[in-house]
């Protein structure tokens, strides 16, 4: 009593037949109007949208709408698409040190070059910032997950992003396999990225004198990375995940808008030079996350360690709790994140004129300095229930406060004493989210 050949296909065909049956409206609900093409599309896809607002203390502000959509095929397959648009504006530190004297620069950021080399002056004691910073970004990403067997799946994805001065494309693949009654998932991933850097006003020659305005053509960089991850269900309420990854970028890794103050022997400003970073960077990182969940409380603790070939070592610890109201209609989610990193080998807040000839790599970008940062966040979520006739729709508001404190312990020349050389950063992030 055997079924006909190709019996293994039977279940899949049966699933298709069941879906066809159940998608037919029962007699009584024929009173319901057809939702129409758009309605059916909206019902078949899950959407998430968010509008984020980012504000750095006295500097950049950004508005970022994000829309993502995903669709499950029901057989474990899934397609997701996302679109992001950024609009940044404000002022950005140019890398030079504060000074007791006024300092005059020419605008070096994206749009400002388009018209002319606009001049701006920084008042004594202030951190030099380019006040004309403005950039826009549009990014699109897509991921397609395909079930290979009942226990394994393959994901192919890609993304592209366009800025005024930066174009980036990435492709990624991943493979995941479940073991141990689906309590263990092992995944491998790899990605490759290619970028073109097209600074407005062309690319400054590394280490060239700022005043000389020496320029080169467009630059590029490429990267490749690999990731290995294990997710383990420890108990019914406890999930743990470990990822290790490595990636390597080569090519133009400088920030084309960053300069370094050159100090004469006594500490007086002698001029400015464009920064230069090594043309390759290899990063290795390990990430451990533990999630525990209960009826009305869940918690998530994650730790990350990263080390790179530039000499940066960073550690991140984050704890996040989610507290539900008794009806599970509302939740709040406090988050605290602590981050510390050591400086890149070539980080230097300024360049001594005497060393200018022998220095190959230098950057005063505070993102490469030794610093620690604390983030405090609070998210509120409201479950919209069945108001939209779908099973999971919610509205969320997230507020985060970020504070970065630089830890540079370099003897300060007399001429610079009394200045706040390393002011750090304070930023506020607000996000409104709506998923349906």
């Amino acid at each position: 009593m055997q079924l006909k050949p190709g019996a293994a296909q039977l279940r899949r065909r049966l699933i298709a037949a069941s879906c066809a049956l159940l998608s037919t409206p029962p007699a009584r609900s024929q009173e319901n109007p057809d939702p129409g093409l758009v309605g059916r599309f909206l019902q078949a896809w899950q959407f998430e949208s968010a509008l984020a607002y980012y504000h750095e203390d006295g500097r950049i502000q950004a508005v970022e709408p994000v829309v993502s959509a995903s669709h499950d095929y029901g057989d474990g397959g899934n397609v997701s698409l996302n679109f992001t648009f950024d609009a940044l504006s404000g002022s950005s530190p140019n890398g030079a040190l504060p000074s007791h004297a006024p300092q005059t620069f020419t605008a070096a950021s994206a749009k400002s070059f388009a018209s002319a080399r606009r001049v701006y002056t920084t008042a004594p004691g202030n951190l030099p910032v380019d006040p004309n910073f403005s950039d826009g970004r549009a990014a699109f990403g897509a991921d397609w997950t395909l079930p290979l067997t009942r226990l394994s799946r393959f994901t192919l994805g890609g993304k592209a992003s366009i800025e005024d001065d930066f174009y980036s494309t990435t492709v990624n693949i991943a493979f995941a396999h479940d073991f141990n009654n689906k309590n263990t998932t092992v995944s491998f991933g790899a990605d490759a990225e290619g970028d073109i850097i097209h600074p407005v006003g062309k690319t400054p020659v590394p280490l060239s004198d700022y005043a000389a305005f020496s320029r080169e053509g467009d630059k590029s960089k490429t990267g490749a990375g690999a990731l290995f991850g294990v997710t383990q269900v420890m108990t019914r309420n406890w999930l743990t995940q470990l990822n290790v990854s490595v990636d390597r970028f080569t090519g133009y890794l400088n920030d084309p808008y960053k300069i370094v103050t050159v100090l004469a022997a006594g500490g007086d400003t002698a001029g400015y030079e464009y920064e230069n970073r090594p043309d390759s960077r290899t990063r290795k990182s390990a990430y451990l996350e533990n999630r525990v969940g209960g009826a009305h409380v869940s918690a998530d603790l994650s730790l990350r360690y990263m080390t790179d070939s530039w000499g940066i070592r960073s550690q991140t610890a984050q704890i996040r709790m989610r507290l539900w109201s008794p009806s599970r209609q509302h939740y709040i989610e406090p988050t605290t994140r602590w981050y510390h990193q050591s400086a890149a080998d070539f980080f230097n807040p300024w360049l001594a004129a005497a060393d200018a000839g022998s220095t190959r790599y230098i950057s005063s970008d505070p993102r490469l300095a030794t610093f620690h940062a604390l983030t405090y966040g609070l998210k509120y979520g409201y479950d919209l229930g069945d108001r939209l006739h779908r099973s999971n729709s919610e509205f969320t508001v997230r507020v985060e406060y970020y504070r970065q404190t630089l830890e540079v312990d370099k003897p300060v020349p007399v001429a610079l004493q009394g200045l706040d050389l390393y002011p750090g950063l304070k930023a506020v992030f607000v996000q409104f989210g709506f998923s349906y």
């Binding site: 009593m1 055997q2 079924l3 006909k4 019996a7 293994a8 039977l10 279940r11 065909r13 049966l14 699933i15 037949a17 069941s18 879906c19 066809a20 049956l21 159940l22 037919t24 409206p25 029962p26 007699a27 009584r28 024929q30 029901g74 067997t149 009942r150 019914r236 309420n237 969940g293 209960g294 009826a295 009305h296 539900w324 008794p326 009806s327 599970r328 479950d383 229930g385 069945d386 006739h389 099973s391 999971n392």
Partner: protein, 275 residues
Amino acid sequence: MACPCEVLVYGDDRAQALSLGTMAAQEAWRVEHKYSRYRDDSVVAWIHGHRGLKCALDVETASLIDFAHRCFELSDGLFDITSGILRRVWKFDGSDRVPEADAVAALLPSIGFDKLQWEPPLLLLPAGMELDFGGIGKEYAVDRAYELLAAQCNVPFLLNFGGDLRTNRPPPQGPWRIGIERPDAEMTAAMLLDLERGALATSGDSRRFLLKASVRYSHILDPRTGWPVVDAPRSVTVAGSSCTEAGLLATLAMLQGAGARAFLEEQGARHWILQ
């Protein structure tokens, strides 16, 4: 439905639980009313009353016939909604009244979906034949009720119509725990399964069988021979995304007799078998 039906709703909203329970019950009654072979005002009775004539079926009934047709083809005739007339000779009451071979053979000419004229939405049921939705009706009712409830609420709920069940999500404390009855000892759970979401359907001969000369005749009849399947497991439980799908797989597995386990493994379906 001739079986206990229950709706479990997680939460502390009594009014909501009551309204969901009522909604599920009404949908179960609607499906039963429409497709029961025991009622003279059902669609099935109407079709039986128009044998030899082409009848235009409503959309829902047409899709059920389409589904039955598909299952008949996929299973090479093992699943057949026209096999219900075998009940005239097979009465699974726990007795030893096994029918005569001739009596069974006499019914075979009136069995076979391929003897129907089915040109959707027109159906012609030849004289002497019967339709029986009993093999899919209960699972279909679960899925229909499920969709109504899922559109109304997002609290975790579990529908259980006599052992065929479906849930939208687990309660916060963890998955639903499902007890599978041991076929020979009523009301004692032989196995406990965890169900997060999706459906479970069970096919078994716990209450319906014949016993003669120490041969147990299960109520699972092969429509092609008219005889019970040999060495069928006592009970087969299958998980699926819908109850209809899981129920069909469980039934087809039973029809494989001793090959039930191999069949389900080949299909890659999550399953639990009691021998």
